[in-house]
């Protein structure tokens, strides 16, 4: 029974990995661009949740939406003020720009919030659900289910709506999309908004159950990178499966080997995967 509980816990955390990783993979699919500041978007989402709870009160729906909205706006601003310009520059400038952004966001957070760990004050979610003997903390359960629903929602937005189709058209053939009258810069700004917004809401969902400090962005950024590589660059469904798998592997290795091994196991498997299948598990060869 304990093992089943570990598995469920891993999947619920993995669902949040899936959500913020789908943002990273969207940007890659859209413009072959790796955003090294993606983990910092997640971290900022956590602080937005904290500020909203402290200042305005309200439940997970309120601070989740606030984090999504705030980070959506930040994503659009980052695209318009930074990314749009460096995209025309050399590869090194593209890489360094988001590295720089990551540092800027991280140290701004240190400056404002200090390096201390914080956690959300007790929110309306609490308690434990007993499903056939498996104990599930309600906050994790709600966050995990919401994360999967949002990831699927992002996938449906991309594949089933007109705006999603236009976004993917720009990703597939920028010039042909322009011939249709689509403005690539607008679609890319939207992609950055969606990517940062999903990172932000993932952060808010994570904040429900875990304490954090400004440096968590680094870990999440790395996790997202592992998930995206595993799922195949540019694939939202791939990121979803891979997120769940990584969450599961972490939980199982923490259970069997001890908590300090959970990241080591993930990165070791990741290195082995890169060596055997550089295109990722679900990526095309």
């Amino acid at each position: 029974m304990l093992l089943a509980q570990v598995i469920v816990g891993g999947l619920l955390l993995g669902a949040i990995y899936a959500l913020f990783s789908s943002g990273l993979t969207l940007i890659w699919g859209m413009m072959n661009f790796i955003n090294f500041a993606h983990g910092e978007f997640v971290m900022l989402g956590m602080y937005v949740a904290l500020l909203v709870v402290v200042w305005l009160g309200g439940g997970p729906a309120t601070f989740g939406f606030a984090a999504a909205f705030a980070l959506f706006v930040l994503g659009v601003i980052v695209y318009a003020s930074l990314i749009r310009h460096v995209m025309r520059g050399p590869m090194l400038a593209q890489i360094l720009s988001t590295f720089g952004l990551a540092l800027l966001l991280r140290y701004t957070a240190f400056w404002i919030f200090s390096a201390n760990f914080v956690s959300l004050p007790q929110v309306s979610l609490s308690g434990t659900l007993n499903v056939g003997g498996i104990l599930m903390p309600v906050p994790q359960l709600v966050a995990g289910v919401a994360a999967i629903a949002l990831t699927l929602g992002l996938h449906l937005l991309l594949t089933r709506t007109t705006v999603g189709s236009q976004l993917l058209a720009v990703a597939e053939d920028r010039n042909a999309a322009m011939l249709m009258g689509i403005r690539p810069d607008r679609m890319q700004a939207l992609a950055w908004g969606l990517a940062a917004g999903s990172a932000g809401i993932a952060g808010a969902l994570m904040a429900v159950s875990y304490p954090w400090s400004p440096s968590v962005g680094e870990t999440f950024g790395l996790t997202a990178f592992v998930v995206v590589t595993l799922g195949g660059f540019g694939s939202v469904p791939g990121a979803m499966y891979a997120g769940l798998i990584i969450g599961l592997i972490q939980a199982l290795s923490a259970y069997w080997l001890g908590p300090i091994y959970k990241d080591i196991v993930v990165y070791a498997l990741f290195a082995a995967l890169l060596w055997l299948r550089p295109q990722g598990l679900m990526g095309k060869a």
Partner: protein, 249 residues
Amino acid sequence: MTELRVSHLKVHYGDLIGVSDVSLRVEAGSIVALLGSNGSGKTTTLNAIAGLVQPSGGSIEWRGETITRQPAYAIVAKGLALSPEGWRLFVSQTVEQNLRLGAAVLADKSRMAALFERVYAMFPRLTERRHQLAGTLSGGERQMLALGRALMSEPRLLMLDEPSLGLAPGVVEALYETLDRLHKEGLTLLLAEQSIPLALDIADYAYVLQTGRTVLEGKGADLEKNEQVQEIYLGIATQPGAGDTPRPT
């Protein structure tokens, strides 16, 4: 009335020259052919008109307005559409999604249903395959989709860049019949092709490009009879013979 006027167009690709001096006019309701061998500058000319490449000299006028350096998304919104070389379909999206993307500039979205109906009536094959990915279509079906997608924006003038490229002869004939029908329904066409006979058959007026310049122009029927066209165009010298002499530009 002159719909489109290109004057002394010049396009550079870095240090390389795409076209050095292209001038042409398209009258409302006509079919104009842009002929020339591979590398003569047809694609560059059409892409410059459509706004995909920036001219380094000359001017492009559309219905009295200078559109020389406007971006492609603004130009198609004015009713000047290009179906690009190689069709450039969105192969990872469905037939229906491709058509809908073609209608992205429609100001009046309520026209959408009627436009879908028109395209599906014109190409029943596309109706059968509407939920299939564009990447799974045959060459002929891809051509239909490219044409249908371009028509979804309800253009006044449609530019087609080598629409017959890589198609089986029977399919090309069907394509030209469709173009003829569209023309009779009032569409103005600017058609870039390498294969002269079909293009000249259908065209009211034609321009011949050679190494980035318009070197010859005339009525379609006149050019068809002219051996100079064969010479310039195919690079084969022919016997001097009868036929009207189109004026060199």
